[in-house]
Symmetry: C2
Subunit: 107 residues, 2 copies
DNA sequence: AATAGTATTACGTCTGTCGTAGTATGTAAG
DNA sequence: CTTACATACTACGACAGACGTAATACTATT
């Protein structure tokens, strides 16, 4: 299991990645993170939803309500162009970060 | 340049790595991080010194005073066995983290 | 009727980083 | 000689992100 301390800098990037292809909502994103990471990273609900509001405040995503007939109403999120640009920046930063961290890792 | 947000989970690991071979002190560690990262990561002084006290509190390092004849007195830090074990854990976690993050990075 | 799964929000706490500033000494430039 | 720069560390308060806990609300299964 991965601790939140080491991945916290990438929560926003992970969320944006999952919104690249289509809008989605909290619960779904949460499941996708769990599945794509093979259960190695399970994001806390409060962390996820607070990330959504931060990303929206920064203009990287926009929100809208789904039209579910049954169940609790979902809040969907769609990535913006700014979000896409920010995501790309973070990907480039990841390459650098990886190089730097690996200089301090002894196998 | 790497933002502190993305590397913050590795500050302790980086510091412990630099103490593996020999005791060292704040200013030196700071320079080594800057050099080994090729100026891509410059740790803030306050971040570094607060990391020292956290690591010492957790038993991962111990401190002692150097016997400099001139200049301001240095506080040296030596890694403990617990620190070595913790460092190794973090290295293993890094491998996992890298795998997970890369699933969310589009090149 | 009870339980589990889906789906979100509110509130307060904690930790790590950062900005700013101050203390203290040695050395090189002008 | 005094100014600036590099060395070396500490104090204090602010802030952001993650977390624990709990509440709300609906559906499906047993």
């Amino acid at each position: 299991m991965i601790s939140s301390d080491v991945i916290r800098g990438y929560n926003d990037t992970i969320i944006l990645y999952l919104l690249l292809n289509a809008p989605s909502y909290g619960y779904e994103i949460s499941k996708q993170i769990r599945e794509l990471s093979k259960e190695r990273y399970i994001i806390k609900e409060t962390t996820l939803y607070s990330a959504f509001s931060r990303l929206e405040k920064n203009g990287y995503i926009t929100s809208f309500y789904g039209d579910e007939t049954g169940g609790k109403r979902r809040t969907y999120y769609r990535i913006t162009q700014e979000g896409i640009d920010y995501y790309k920046e973070k990907c480039e930063e990841w390459v650098l970060t990886k190089e730097v961290v690996e200089r301090f890792i002894r196998d």
